[in-house]
């Protein structure tokens, strides 16, 4: 919501508290139940990813033969998607820290992405997950280049919104890599380049290593046919970029998700924090393979409520969360990929233009409980 006057929760303080307690109870139950099956699950996904990667690179080595190129590129694309989404993103959240296995430690894990893992942990785990959808604090709103909320003032620059979004999708891993640099704050002088030296050197090292692997070493192994693995690797990176952009933008920007102001979220209680995570996130419906390839970010709502629970548990939790939301009259935003992404595209295009009167920001959900008169501001 865009103004503080609208920012009211249609629940009494007692209701918001018991809502928070119900969610805490779910978290507690899953924490107590974590064990061998979760360990087996993530290891199975890792095994599949390693297999797909080796197969993909092997096939692309012989990429001069068209069937090998197609199969190799497909396998490598899937491998990179699994590496980033279901493995990297989730492991780096500390979802498997309880296993005490150094190879699955959130603090030590590194992924096949241009963004260095330690910078990702800061910009994503901390900044985005703590300040979700707070305009001015959550830099995932538009990644510093797009206008994704009416709360961002329109400027002529934003006429290029659809074009910037397309570029961001194509080069998403580099967009993510530059995330912590806050390029837009550098151009306005709010941040100084001198303070960013360490970040830049980290990004440079990571990008160099990845470029060397995908665009020099593996192509070189094919000798005169180097162009085939080169093109295959570039395609796999592109597929992963577009896929992760699509999934991630469907997590917070479909119609019906809300943004918040810093004032609204001061002194939030745990229940209010949960409430904000819920209103700021949207789910995608789909098959089990789809959920795995999305890194279970198709359960964005559950992920934002419980970012450090093993992601393979989100599916089972989601039915309970949905039921709780229905009881409290809180909207639970879910839809198929086509519908959700369509509404994201519409929003990107709509926000390229200045706001028209009477077509402002999304309104808060109506009071969910009948006869409920008392409402409290979100930061009561």
């Amino acid at each position: 919501m865009s103004t503080t006057t609208e920012s009211q929760i249609p629940l009494t303080p007692e209701q918001i508290e018991s809502f928070g307690e119900e969610l805490d109870a779910i978290r507690q139950r899953v924490l107590a139940d974590r064990g061998e099956s979760d360990a087996n699950y993530i290891r199975k996904v890792i095994r599949a990813q390693r297999g797909l990667e080796v197969a993909g690179r092997g096939l692309l080595w012989a990429g001069v033969f068209p069937p090998a190129w197609i199969a190799g590129t497909a396998a490598l694309s899937l491998s990179k998607i699994l590496d980033n989404m279901e493995i990297g993103h989730n492991v780096m959240h500390g979802q498997y820290d309880w296993m005490n296995d150094p190879a699955l430690s959130g603090k030590q894990f590194e992924w096949d992405n241009a963004c260095p893992a330690d910078q990702w942990r800061h910009s994503h785990n901390y900044m985005h997950h703590t300040h979700t959808n707070i305009v001015g604090k959550d830099r995932d709103i538009g990644y510093g280049v797009l206008r994704m909320s009416e709360d961002q003032d329109w400027k002529p620059y934003y006429l290029g919104n659809p074009a910037y979004a397309t570029l961001l999708a194509l080069f998403f891993q580099y967009g993510v890599a530059l995330h912590d640099l806050e390029v837009e704050r550098l151009t306005t002088g709010e941040a100084k380049l001198a303070d960013k030296r360490e970040l830049i050197s980290g990004i440079w090292k990571k990008v160099r290593r990845q470029t060397l692997k995908d665009y020099v070493i593996f192509p070189a192994l094919s000798g005169p046919f180097f162009l085939f693995p080169l093109a295959g690797n570039a395609t796999a990176n592109l597929v992963r970029n577009v896929w992760s952009f699509t999934i991630i933008f469907c997590g917070h920007f479909p119609e019906g998700t809300h943004e918040f102001t810093e004032e609204e979220t001061e002194n939030e209680s745990r229940g209010e924090w949960y409430y904000r995570q819920l209103l700021g996130s949207a789910n995608l419906s789909g098959s089990r393979p789809f959920h795995i390839l999305s890194g279970n970010l198709s359960f964005q709502i559950e992920h934002h409520l419980f970012p450090d629970l093993p992601a393979n548990r989100y599916a089972e939790i989601s039915t309970e969360v949905r039921e709780i939301c229905e009881r409290y009259g809180i909207p639970y935003n879910v839809g198929p990929l086509g519908k959700q992404f369509g509404s994201v595209v519409k929003k990107i295009c709509r926000l390229a233009l200045p706001d028209r009167k009477g077509r402002g920001s999304a309104q808060l959900p109506p009071a969910g409980l009948e006869g409920e008169e008392k409402r409290v501001p979100i930061a009561a």
């Binding site: 080796v54 800061h122 703590t130 990845q210």
Partner: protein, 369 residues
């Protein structure tokens, strides 16, 4: 059995030709994350071992023969290793002293005795079987035979503290050591005497090896009775005053031995403490102290979250959300008990990762920060 020292030796990286190129190709995960998919012991940067035999002499113990992978750097008789096993998805690590002699090839032998409360010992005694793969550290510890073998050697062992002494004894016998070797073995009774038969046959085969047993709960069954006492020494080893002495057992035995080898004799004494693995006690919130090991700082526990206490002590601890979400402040707890302030869950295990912002101490703590 658990030597109280903890191994610090990192796994040694052998000089594999082209290792850097392999790592560039296998980046960012590293070559081992691919090799382990073929076989878990194929890794080159990390020591792991396969159980090749598991024999259960009693219902209370299991003796495991381990075949370490190529990362293993060997051990000296008397040293210990850390063994890691995964139980219900969680990795647990304990110290064991191999009883196998030096230079006996690549295989290692460890004996695991069941502790009533012991998670790892119960798991291994009940479930260890050939084919199982366990994590292994490099051998560590100063309690071992010197390279220049002393002529006269006295070994004093109690309970499962006999294991490192067994490695020393087997090594000396295999090398054909000519000097006198004496062993005083303390055990409750003949039935609960570890390596009983093997020690008897070693004593029969090696005229220079003198074996003396003292039973603490079976008077008259052995050559001596009761716990360690200096009066046992002349009877067990006429050379005790000049022998290089190796003692291993519970703290009470070692205290008695140290008291005897005083006044200049201590340079001939080597001791290793064996105590059953125990979880840290649960104390009152707001008591005890926190030691931040990397910063070399110790503070009185104020009862606040460990993150706040670290910051108050002036340690630049990394942190983010301060509400248990982002895991930025995650650190290794080396020992002690903490309570999770969100879930009230109590963690008493050593060497596990905790979130500092939502953990408060319940005992003396050592944090790797």
């Amino acid at each position: 059995m658990t030597p109280t020292a903890t191994a610090t030796a990192p796994s040694r990286r052998r000089g594999i030709p082209g290792r850097r190129l392999f790592d560039a190709i296998a980046g960012p995960h590293g070559i081992d994350r691919y090799l382990e998919q073929i076989s878990p012991t194929l890794v080159i940067g990390e020591c792991r071992a396969e159980v090749v035999a598991a024999s259960r002499g009693t219902t209370d113990s299991v003796t495991l023969s381990l075949r370490p992978n190529r990362a293993w750097g060997g051990l000296r008789a008397g040293q210990f290793v850390q063994v890691s096993v995964e139980i219900d998805g969680v990795r647990h690590t304990r110290c064991y002293s191999p009883a196998s002699p030096e230079g006996s090839g690549r295989e290692l032998e460890i004996t695991v005795k069941r502790h009533p409360e012991g998670l790892v010992s119960n798991f291994l005694v009940d479930h260890a079987q050939p084919g199982m793969v366990i994590g292994l550290s490099q051998a560590d510890g100063d309690f071992h035979l010197p390279d220049l073998r002393p002529d006269s050697i006295l070994l004093i062992g109690a309970g499962s503290g006999i294991t490192p002494l067994m490695a020393i004894l087997r090594t000396l016998c295999a090398e054909g050591h000519a000097g006198p070797i004496a062993l005083i073995q303390y055990a409750p009774d003949p039935d609960r005497t570890i390596y009983r038969q093997e020690l008897d046959s070693l004593a029969a085969e090696n005229p220079n090896f003198r074996l003396t047993r003292s039973y603490t709960r079976a008077p008259g069954a052995g050559e001596l009775d009761g716990h360690f006492s200096p009066i046992h020494l002349p009877q067990a080893d006429p050379n005790f005053a000049t022998a290089e002495t190796f003692a291993c057992g519970p703290p009470a035995l070692l205290d008695a031995v140290r008291g005897t080898w005083a006044n200049g004799l201590e340079r001939r004494l080597h001791v290793e403490s064996f105590v059953p693995p125990s979880l840290s006690p649960i104390g009152e919130p707001g008591t005890g102290s926190i030691r931040f090991s990397s910063s070399n700082l110790e503070v009185r526990n104020s009862g606040a979250s460990i993150l706040e206490q670290a910051e108050q002590a002036g340690i630049p601890a990394q942190s983010g959300c301060r509400m248990g979400i982002c895991h930025t402040c995650t650190c290794r707890k080396l020992s002690g008990t903490v309570k999770n302030l969100l879930t009230d869950e109590v963690s008493a295990a050593p060497d596990v990762e905790i979130q500092l912002c939502i953990s408060a101490p319940l005992s003396d703590l050592v944090i790797d920060l």
